[in-house]
């Protein structure tokens, strides 16, 4: 566990969220990308502070695919050659918000690489981010 790293994630989370709010006010769908990155930073912060990732044994007790090094994973999707990604680790450690997290990731991909959000509004993606961040904050040390 590293408090400076956790603080860095918190700082980046707040910056991403503030940018998202500004973009939301102008109706810009890139707000969703920033909401996702705020949630991503909140997840990385939670990993950093989660005592279940303090050792390989503790991590494997949660899921055999987790290890202490899962704390440092920075890619989104798991892959056979490199193990679980952030999306998977969120699912293993925080199942209550995993579906919302994965959907928010998918929505950010739609904005970044495609023609925009399908079927949901910017405000709905904000609500996803709020739910995720609230739950991750509630679970972890402050």
């Amino acid at each position: 566990m590293s408090a400076p790293v956790a603080e860095q994630h918190k700082s980046e989370q707040l910056k991403a969220y503030q940018t998202a709010v500004l973009l939301t006010r102008s109706g810009n769908e890139w707000a969703t990308v920033c909401y996702f990155y705020a949630a991503y930073r909140a997840a990385r912060r939670a990993f950093n502070l989660d005592s279940r990732l303090d050792s390989d044994a503790a991590a494997r007790a949660v899921n055999p695919r987790l290890s202490a090094s899962s704390r440092h994973v920075d890619f989104h999707n798991g892959h056979p050659s490199r193990g679980p990604g952030v999306n998977d680790i969120v699912r293993f450690l925080y199942p209550a918000i995993a579906t919302k997290y994965e959907l928010l990731h998918a929505k950010s991909v739609e904005v970044r690489y495609r023609t925009g959000l399908i079927g949901v509004t910017i405000e709905e993606t904000r609500k996803l981010a709020d739910d995720i961040i609230r739950e991750l904050t509630r679970l972890g040390p402050q």
Partner: protein, 100 residues
């Protein structure tokens, strides 16, 4: 080194699995699977009949089971809508046929 997977065979398998977990023709207007054999990666494109937030959350939750099925073989990603890139050099399954 991992053996390179058979793209068309894997696309069909992932399509059948995905169609099953995502609810078949009742919930899907279309389902396409693009497999990238060298990268050990597949993208499942789900065209949902109901694109509301709740329906998309349900699809994501169900898709976690698909990902588990191919854990040791592929990175499997769910996207909504239709493929928007040329797919001629990849193995593609047009999976409405797979929901029969």
């Amino acid at each position: 080194m991992a053996e390179i997977i058979d793209g068309p065979v894997m696309a069909e398998a992932v399509g059948v699995t995905s169609a099953g977990y995502l609810g078949g023709a009742e919930t899907l207007r279309s389902l396409n699977v693009v497999v990238y054999p060298v990268e050990q990666r597949a993208v499942v494109w789900a065209g949902l009949r109901d694109t509301s937030l709740d329906a998309q959350l349900a699809a994501v939750a169900a898709f976690a089971e698909v990902r588990e099925c191919y854990l040791d073989e592929l990175e499997v990603e769910l996207r909504f809508g239709e493929p928007d890139e040329p797919t001629s050099d990849r193995a593609t399954a047009k999976a409405m046929e797979l929901t029969r």
